[in-house]
Symmetry: C2
Subunit: 500 residues, 2 copies
């Protein structure tokens, strides 16, 4: 029953008796249980277990599901299809789960990625019954070595009475040592987290676990299916150029060193463009302190630009994983994989002085940011770590194209229809049109600058007219005409375009 | 020239030569300078200096003014009247400055109280030329002992090349020892702040300063004029009762100890009611970790309820200060006065697991909070420390009456007209109608609970109709009808009431 590959990876031999089939493991789940997915994003997810669960558990009840990262189809897709999700906590991107969130058939509770594990541990959502974790191996002592993501694994492992481990023998064993597992105490017994540089290691290279809690070990048998690398386009390239222009100006003014400050940028076309631009830049000895990183992170290491790269998860393409696996020992000297409570930790983001760079759906003239809800209504993604970073960084930067859908939607609007990040948290807005440095400005000064520097030329006049009318007819510190604040959005709903 | 009282308070005798008149000191200020008020709120403010400045400097130029707390009339009022404020950073409440912010004659830059000193220190707003600090005394080494507030004093003292000290001989010398001055480094060189309990002392009882930077010492000659103690009314009493009911339930469920967790509540009728209710409660050994505290804080100490009380400023009434001054040594064993970068520090708020309790103008059905702008337009107060606390606390609670202006305004609305605190930061809403525990709920579940528990009966139907129509006609995760989201606000503008 135990394959040679699995036997080799389970170094605590007494745990070999826990090896079972995915179906048997899935049967441990009972109606009403809370299940935490310890490791999330992309290839690092225990897909074999959840595929079995969707089959075995269908029609037998429902579970509450907790996850840090946006887990792949094999979790959110299959479980939603099988109708076994009673309530879903955490980050998500899966189309079926988004549909369920938007038709409200499943209550979906968005939480800040870096905070959710703390909230789960303080008991406000009830207990976690089972943690499911993808692993590279189990050590001689029975501790768990994760794969290419840590995310909430350590927190759920501590919390759950039962742990199911899915070992993926396709992950090279050389990955051992890349992880740094440290789990902060629950308040009020929490201690200062002793990290002062992005590259500091403060924990163990494995998730410590009482081996008696490991109730099942299964072998991964579903191939990884990483997403393609997001292509860089002219817009994202322009945004990246303006970001680097801003960095250059800050260095000139003596406000940033040439090594910059620890950078956070996520996944997508703009982050890839930023990585490419940094590769070709004068900036050196860069630290990355981020929730996740894409192929651009490897490019930066290969270009000799990186001093340390700290993330909770690697979100690579197939080609990216190939590069990473072939040369793990070299990448390991730079990359640290951390639990998300450390990778996205507000205390550390503030202490390290991170430069947080996050995307958005729309931004308003005063600098409020909507990252989650189209027309204030339809969610397209959980906020993930964007609150953790933008609310606490040394510099909080929002990057987005000035228009969407070939220009019929302006991303700069009089008032955003949903606020995830208030004006108080935002320092800089960058579009392909330019950058607006909002630091030290009053609301109307910010509005003028955002319109001038960031709005698309075809919307500048509309936005200026709104601002002028609001100033004249309503006045106030942050002038708005409530009857007209959403006129652009309403025009789009009616006519399919915001252009008048 | 040097009064005996002043001579006695300046223990570094070589600094006696720096004693000068308020007028002479005011003449050190030049056009275009940036002035930081080290100590703010109420009686602790260097009022004599700023009164002189308003007279001396009028017509001679303008200054940029930085302050942590909402400084009294002698600063914002006189300086605005004298038309010498070029730009104003930080918290404020003064009517004249509010008017200037709302007619945009002075650019007013709201910043988070706990973050502003860091931002000032990183140089983004230019340099600080002069720090002005109210002091009880100057030590033998030339260090400064503040009075009843610390606020930004330590940060500006470090930063400015010139420090003006206003000594107030009316402050009893026994206050020495109440302060705990610790100034975190600027990122990326910041270290963990070694506080793990609200009562921990980690710094010095004085503000360390190079005595050569002290360019002038003046004597306070303007009597303190503390605000009256806010009266408790039926509404605030009800809100406090519901808060304690919630605490009691959490203790029953084993999620809070009977000592609760470090509490933050500000100044005003609801905070006073909360203090009164706590005095009469079963809760004991309470820690307070807050930006400021009113007379209720003294009541709690007198009732034997307090283990430690950590604030940046005492915001007491005249009677409160009398009590405090008469019995300083007893109060000193409980009270710690800290710089605002520590008192309002996100790192510490999260680590200690604070329970943050803050007021608001309005809250929407999904839990977004407006604390600053009426009709999304007119500012009535800076956000102060509310972002620092609500965004980082273990439990983030918003308290407000369910209606305003005798019922013609509902404080629960379909969509708030300005967001200072997004849904992601809010755990609980409490009005005199009841409390809504929002933890673990989806947006529509939250909306139903907020309407049921917190809205005033005369608005419940209007709110339910909006929600129902939004669900049916627009759907989505957080249903909104943008054409109607502000209908209540628009009705109030037109008809003077939100009631249809």
């Amino acid at each position: 029953m135990v394959s040679p590959a699995l036997e080799h990876r389970i170094r605590a031999k007494r745990l070999l008796t826990r090896v079972t089939s995915p179906q048997e493991a899935a049967r441990l789940v009972e109606d009403g249980m809370a299940v935490g997915i310890g490791t999330g994003i992309s290839s690092a997810c225990p897909k074999t277990f959840f595929t079995a669960l969707a089959n075995e558990f269908k029609g037998k009840g429902k579970i509450k599901l907790f996850t840090g990262g946006p887990v792949p189809d094999e979790v959110d897709g299959l479980l939603v299809e099988a109708d076994i999700v009673e309530r879903r906590f955490g980050q998500f991107k899966n189309p079926l789960l988004l549909k369920a969130a938007n038709d409200r058939s499943i209550p979906v509770v968005e939480e800040r990625t870096g905070i959710l594990p703390h909230q789960v541990r303080d008991g406000r959502f009830g207990k976690i019954d089972i943690a499911v974790i993808q692993a590279t191996a189990i050590t001689e002592q029975g501790h768990i070595i994760p794969t290419t993501s840590c995310l909430d694994a350590p927190s759920y492992t501590v919390l759950a009475n039962r742990v199911i481990v899915e070992i993926n023998p396709n992950i090279p064993e050389e990955i051992e040592g890349i992880h740094d597992i440290y789990i902060p105490e629950v308040a009020p017994d929490r201690k200062p987290i002793p990290i002062v540089h992005a590259g500091d290691r403060i924990g163990t290279p494995y998730i410590p676990v009482d081996p008696d809690k490991i109730v099942a070990i299964i072998e991964s048998n579903i191939p990884d299916n990483p997403p393609p690398r997001p292509p860089i386009n002219e817009t994202s390239q322009k945004v990246a150029e303006y970001l680097l222009e801003f960095f250059t100006n800050e260095v000139k003014r003596g406000r940033l060193p040439t090594s910059l400050l620890p950078l956070q940028f996520g996944i997508g076309t703009i982050p890839e463009a930023i990585a490419e631009a940094l590769c070709e830049s004068v900036f050196n000895d860069i630290e990355i302190f981020s929730g996740a990183v894409g192929d651009g992170g490897l490019d930066l290491i290969d270009a000799g630009k990186v001093k340390a790269l700290s993330v909770a998860a690697l979100y690579l393409s197939e080609g990216g994983f190939d590069r990473f696996y072939k040369d793990i020992s070299r990448y390991k000297s730079k990359i640290i994989l951390r639990p998300v409570v450390i990778a996205d930790c507000p205390e550390l983001i503030a202490r390290l002085g991170c430069i947080a760079i996050n995307g958005a759906i729309e931004v308003d003239i005063y600098g409020h940011v909507n990252s989650s809800h189209i027309q204030g209504t339809r969610i397209i993604s959980g906020v993930g770590g964007s609150c953790d970073f933008l609310w606490n960084a040394y510099l909080s930067i929002v990057v987005l194209p000035s228009v969407a859908r070939k220009g019929v939607i302006s991303s700069i609007v009089p008032m955003v229809t949903h606020v995830d990040h208030p004006e108080h948290a935002i320092d800089l807005i960058i579009t392909e049109q330019g950058y607006a440095d909002l630091r030290g400005l009053s609301p109307v000064e910010r509005a003028k600058k955002i319109i001038d520097k960031c709005a698309h030329p075809s919307y500048k006049d509309i936005l200026r007219e709104y601002l002028q009318e609001a100033i004249e007819n309503r006045g106030g510190h942050e002038p708005h005409i409530l009857e007209k604040a959403f006129n652009l959005h309403i025009a789009y709903l009616k006519n399919g375009t915001m252009r008048s």
